[in-house]
Amino acid sequence: MEWFQTWSADFCDTFARCFIKDNRYILLLDGIGVTIRVSLVAVLIGIAIGLLIALCNLSSNKLLKLIGGIYTDVIRGTPSVTQLMIIYFVIFASVNLSKWIIAAIAFGINSGAYVSEIIRAGILSVDKGQTEAGRSLGLSASQTMTRIVIPQAVKNIFPALCNEFIVLIKETAIVGYVGLMDIQKAGDFIKSATFEAFMPLIGTAIIYYVLIKILTLVLNRVESRLRASEVR
């Protein structure tokens, strides 16, 4: 059992050095705050942009269609790190905004392209008869869309949107590129400061995992609520 005692003493020592000494856990806690803030704001921006682009893509107006098509094409065709850096260092270079807000905008713009495809599929999944019924009652196209089609589409696309949200949270691990101290960057910082790789990186992974687990449980709850109103 001696090996175990040495090992556990070693483990505790490393743990203390990585997370307790110099209050390094504060870095991680702040990092969690940054990750959550960036993700939350980005997901909202993403849904707003996604809805807009989806409507452009579905519209019969050729110009809107073109705009929507180019947007999705460009965003999907370039890495998100590159987009983040372009938005931070080029587009917002001379704008005085908090770093995390700029990052959130960048991720929102990125996410919007993917969300738009989800929403487009959701809208197309609603039976054409629903639109016809709405229009036959005298509702305008936009009234039919907002009152009849979109509420039904939301239920259909909810799982896919949750998935996109989770992907987005993990994607934000690249904000270190523009100097934001999120969970990943904090873990990386501890790694450099302590010359320990295992503890800070596994710690980072566990924090992401727990965050996403909690989120998944909450979203599952919301989804079963949504389904409850639709008795089949």
Binding site: E132, R135, S136, L137, G138, Q152, K155, S229, V231
Partner: protein, 240 residues
């Protein structure tokens, strides 16, 4: 009330309507019969502008409704439409299905619409289902709600597109009964159906369509008992 002049409808190369001329008076109950693919449903859908008209003119109350300058939404408020597959809004309760359009289009306040909704649900015998959701209803009940929903807009004309075709046989009667009552109340109705018994009993006029044309038009007695056109005779010999 409805005048149709030389109506043509084409889907790509497929000609579905080949020059329809028809005049429907207020209070008439016109039943359109004919084989599948004869253009009956397309004709009905053109009347409600759910299909773009390729050529020809449709007048409702002497207003040409397929003119580009016309507000389609206002025209449609005059016409209720009942679909084969009901198309109730599954995310809304029965009462909300009925009150949505009148309230949204500011024809009624919420209270007025609910009161009207209760009256209509009473007429179709479904007042106890006001708070239910469409998924909890049988097919026949859904179709009766769909009729109530269309009537909530106080339309001048009701269009029925094969309203009983998607129903279990035992539920057809309850829907036809509602339609009979509606016909007796003097509503102008255009009905596409395969229910020949219903056509015979309720129609003030029967139209026989085939290959995008109206081949025969007359009272149920004329069309069913003394058809003049060979195609009509042939069709009726198969379905009666």
């Amino acid at each position: 009330m409805i005048k149709v002049k030389n109506l043509h409808k084409q889907f790509g190369d497929l000609k579905v309507l080949n020059g329809i001329n028809e005049h429907i008076e207020a209070g008439e109950v016109v039943v359109v019969i004919g084989p599948s693919g004869s253009g009956k449903s397309t004709f009905l859908r053109c009347l409600n502008l759910l299909e773009d008209v390729t050529e020809g003119e449709i007048y409702v109350d002497d207003e040409m409704i397929n003119a580009p300058s016309v507000d389609v939404n206002l025209i449609r408020q005059k016409m209720g439409m009942v679909f084969q597959h009901f198309n109730l809004f599954p995310h809304l309760s029965i009462m909300d299905n009925i009150t949505l359009a009148p309230v949204l289009l500011k024809k009624m306040t919420k209270e007025e619409a609910v009161k009207k909704g209760q009256e209509l649900l009473t007429t179709v015998g479904l007042l106890d289902k006001a708070d239910a959701y469409p998924a909890q209803l049988s097919g026949g009940q859904k179709q009766r709600v769909a009729i109530a929903r269309a009537l909530a807009m106080n339309p001048e004309i009701m269009l029925f597109d094969e309203p009983t075709s998607a129903l279990d046989p035992e539920m057809v009667g309850e829907v036809l009964d509602v339609m009979k009552d509606l016909a007796k109340s003097g509503m102008t109705m255009v009905i596409v159906t395969h229910e020949m018994g219903f056509a015979r009993e309720v129609a003030s006029r029967v139209l026989f369509m085939d290959q995008g044309q109206i081949l025969e038009s007359g009272t149920p007695d004329e069309v069913f008992n003394h058809p003049k056109n060979e195609r009509t005779k042939n069709f009726l010999s198969k379905v009666l």
